[in-house]
């Protein structure tokens, strides 16, 4: 079955092609069948491959479809590489992807561009699979850019509104900055090591570079640039909140479950390179920590239900980066998976809420919806518990592992751990703030609404609820990828640390309860202090990163562009024209028409020529 691995990207691609070529002329049921069916089929194939892979003792499998381009020593191919890591990734992508597609068949049913939506979605899944299955960095880059493109297309899906177009372009351009850094990284790797095949690269890097070599640091820094862009980490996180302009299932699939984790995947895939550059690896951890705190604080202040979830996504990916930074590779991938479950669940549930409330995004205009929207309420409850790492939900296991690993590294690890714990506290607050505000308390308007969930929308929610609750018990087969044959090391820490890590999310939830449910503490009171107002405004704007970019990059560029709209060089050549024209005018003035004048000038010329002839 493994030799059918090429079917994985091909099936969604075929779905995309058939939808794109028919161009919306198919009936909606057929579109749904092709759109969701192709992903479903891909998931089946992936599942069969997984069974065989696990039965065969987790042996690495490589399948080459054809050589892409062969120029001298540079010959990347359309080659798929299957190991534990790519297996987990492809199962998440096809599995969660299929659930979201299924949900979308109901959610998007009224949209006139139904077919266009599914064609983009299928293309996205194809590109994402290409990304995780690639055995060389060029093919990975193809998938990398491909998902970026689909993300752009889907954010700008409702193109009539220029704001959506702006958000889409912002997402594409900001991630492109990271992509360019990554591309330069590829050039550098090829120049230094002569190949871009990932496994060969890792072997060559290990044998040629000492730990901490400048070249290893440079390469891993450049790759980190790419990862930071795609995974919306500091300083390139600004695009993700705006990306919520797209339809909600897209936020679930691309901006929560799969694409944004591509950066995590990239670092995990090239972890040997990062191990060779410990300073960069530590930087990864700090980037993750800074991002998760920043996003956590910001999430507490947002009103838009999807923006809250977006910031929580940034924050959770921050945890994954933190894990990568402290060398907890498998824990990070584990958190990636559990996050995919519960964040997809939260987004889809948010979609149901928004859908039922006529595209209302502001959580303070909702309230008391737990009776009206029971499925959404259940989903949110479970999803938020997992997100807040409530004990024995899926999020608890993965986050626990990351924080323990951070604590175990010692040195700066304790600070990283402490920051992570603070982040967990924030997570507890903002996730339950959302739950309490939307589903409890007084109801605002929308009294007569019924929950709009058909079979196709309810089923994925139920499955994801199950996975969010129980996903922590899944064992992912990535140990052989990361530990290079060594046994998995257990982190032994004191019970106090364990206790803190269990208690902190609960405290966060409790604080949230006091503020937003019981009313024992009041936000208004808190906001009456000037200092907290400023802090609120600062957090609300996403730590003013947008303004920073606007003043630092966008405005100077726009100013420069506007200044030189007419191309300086054109003016240069026009000045040549002007000079020759005025010189011509000058010469024309000597053309008086008077014979005497001509004679005099001729005589003067003659004398001058003679003088030259005689005296030189």
């Amino acid at each position: 079955m493994q030799e059918f691995i090429w079917l994985l990207p091909t099936l969604p691609l075929l779905g995309f092609l058939s939808l794109a070529i028919t161009g919306g002329s198919l009936p909606k049921r057929a579109v749904a069948a092709i759109g969701a069916g192709s992903i479903g089929a891909a998931f089946l194939v992936a599942a069969l491959i997984a069974v065989e892979f696990l039965n065969a003792g987790e042996e690495v499998f490589v399948y080459q479809a054809w050589v892409w381009m062969s120029v001298g020593s540079f010959s990347p191919g359309f080659t798929f590489y299957l190991d534990g890591l790519s297996l987990v990734m492809m199962l998440i992508i096809t599995g969660v992807g299929f659930l979201i597609h299924l949900y979308s068949t109901g959610f998007m049913f009224d949209d006139p561009s139904y077919s266009r939506f599914f064609s983009y979605m299928n293309l996205f899944v194809a590109a994402m699979l290409m990304l995780v299955l690639a055995d060389n960095l060029v093919l990975l880059y193809l998938g990398w850019e491909g998902v970026g493109l689909c993300s752009y297309l889907l954010i700008g899906f409702w193109y009539e509104n220029p704001a959506n177009g702006y958000a889409a372009r912002k997402a594409f351009v900001v991630t492109r900055v990271g992509d360019t850094s990554m591309a330069i990284g590829l050039f550098l790797l090829f120049r230094e090591l002569g190949t871009l095949n990932i496994q060969d690269l890792m072997i060559a890097a290990q044998s040629e570079w000492q730990i901490g070599t400048g070249m290893a640091v440079a390469c891993s820094l450049l790759l980190l640039g790419g990862a930071v862009g795609k995974s919306a980490q500091l300083p390139l996180q600004a695009w993700l909140p705006d990306a919520m302009a797209g339809p909600t299932p897209i936020s679930a699939l691309i901006h929560a479950a799969t694409m944004v984790t591509a950066g995590v995947y990239l670092i995990a895939r090239t972890h040997i390179l990062f191990e060779l550059a410990p300073s960069v690896q530590l930087l990864v951890a700090w980037v993750g920590l800074a991002t998760l705190l920043m996003a956590g604080f910001t999430a507490m202040t947002q009103h838009d239900i999807k923006r809250i979830l977006a910031y929580s996504t940034i924050s959770q990916i921050g945890y994954m980066f933190l894990g990568l930074g402290v060398g907890a590779w498998s824990a990070s991938v584990f958190h990636l998976m559990t996050h995919a479950f519960f964040k997809a669940l939260l987004f889809l549930a948010a979609g149901t809420v928004i859908y039922s409330l006529h595209h209302e995004h502001d959580i303070f205009k909702m309230g008391g919806k737990r009776k009206q929207l029971p499925i959404a309420f259940a989903s949110f409850m479970i999803g938020s518990l997992a997100l807040a790492a409530f004990p024995f939900t899926s999020g608890y296991f993965s986050k626990d592992e990351i924080l323990l690993a951070a604590y175990a590294t010692g040195g700066p690890g304790v600070w990283l751990w402490a920051g992570g714990v603070l982040g967990a506290f924030l997570t507890g607050i903002y996730s339950f703030r959302l739950v309490f505000v939307v589903f409890f308390g007084a109801s605002h308007g929308h009294h007569d609404e019924k929950e709009k969930t058909g079979f196709s929308m309810a089923t994925p929610l139920f499955i994801l609820m199950l996975l969010s609750l129980l996903g922590g018990w899944i064992q992912i087969p990535v140990e052989s990828v990361f530990n290079h044959g060594q046994a998995h090391e257990e982190h032994h820490v004191s019970a106090l640390i364990h206790g803190i890590m269990i208690a902190v999310p609960l405290v966060g939830i409790a604080v949230s309860y006091l503020f937003f449910f019981s009313g024992a503490l009041s936000v208004e009171k808190l906001m009456s202090y000037k200092f907290s107002k400023i802090l609120h405004r600062f957090w609300f704007s996403g730590w003013a990163m947008d303004a920073l970019y606007k003043h630092l990059l966008i405005n100077p560029f726009m100013w420069l562009a506007r200044l030189n709209r007419n191309d300086f060089f054109d003016a240069l050549y026009n000045s040549v024209i002007a000079i020759s024209r005025s010189a011509h005018g000058l010469v024309a003035k000597t053309q008086t028409g008077y014979l005497g004048w001509y004679l005099i000038s001729m005589a003067a010329g003659l004398t001058a020529v003679l003088a030259v002839g005689v005296y030189l």
């Binding site: 005099i600 005589a603 003067a604 003659l606 004398t607 003679l610 003088a611 005689v614």
Partner: protein, 160 residues
Amino acid sequence: MSLLFYLAAFVAVISTVAVILQTNVVHALIYLILSLLSVAVIFYVLGSPFAAVLEAIVYAGAIMVLFLFVIMMLNLGQHTRDQEKKWLSLKGWILPCLLAGVLLFQLVSVLSSYDQNMAPETVGVLEVSALLFGPYVLAVELASILLLAGLISAYHLAKK
């Protein structure tokens, strides 16, 4: 003989100066004829009798008569003479004379380094004609074509 040369040269220069200073056209023309004739004398002195004769007949004779005809046709009277006087202001002379002075100075300074004497023998009509209708026959043809062209264009221009 050299005395004759210097005498003729003196006459030629004086009469030429008179030509360019005259206000009466007919007088100027007479002075010009005088100048041409003295140049013809110089030609003779320098051993070119054929050229001297042609100078007298063609230049001083034919060409100047042409001028005379034209002047008569134009019938420039007293009015023109007054105008000439007005035009010949001192101011108009300064720049041309300056330029001409420079030019003459250049010419003289080049020529004065050249101190060879002229050969005394005479080159007569025979030698000139032998060359003219021998190696330079093409030049004669060209000259005839030039004259023909001059004839035709003069006829065309002077026609009403």
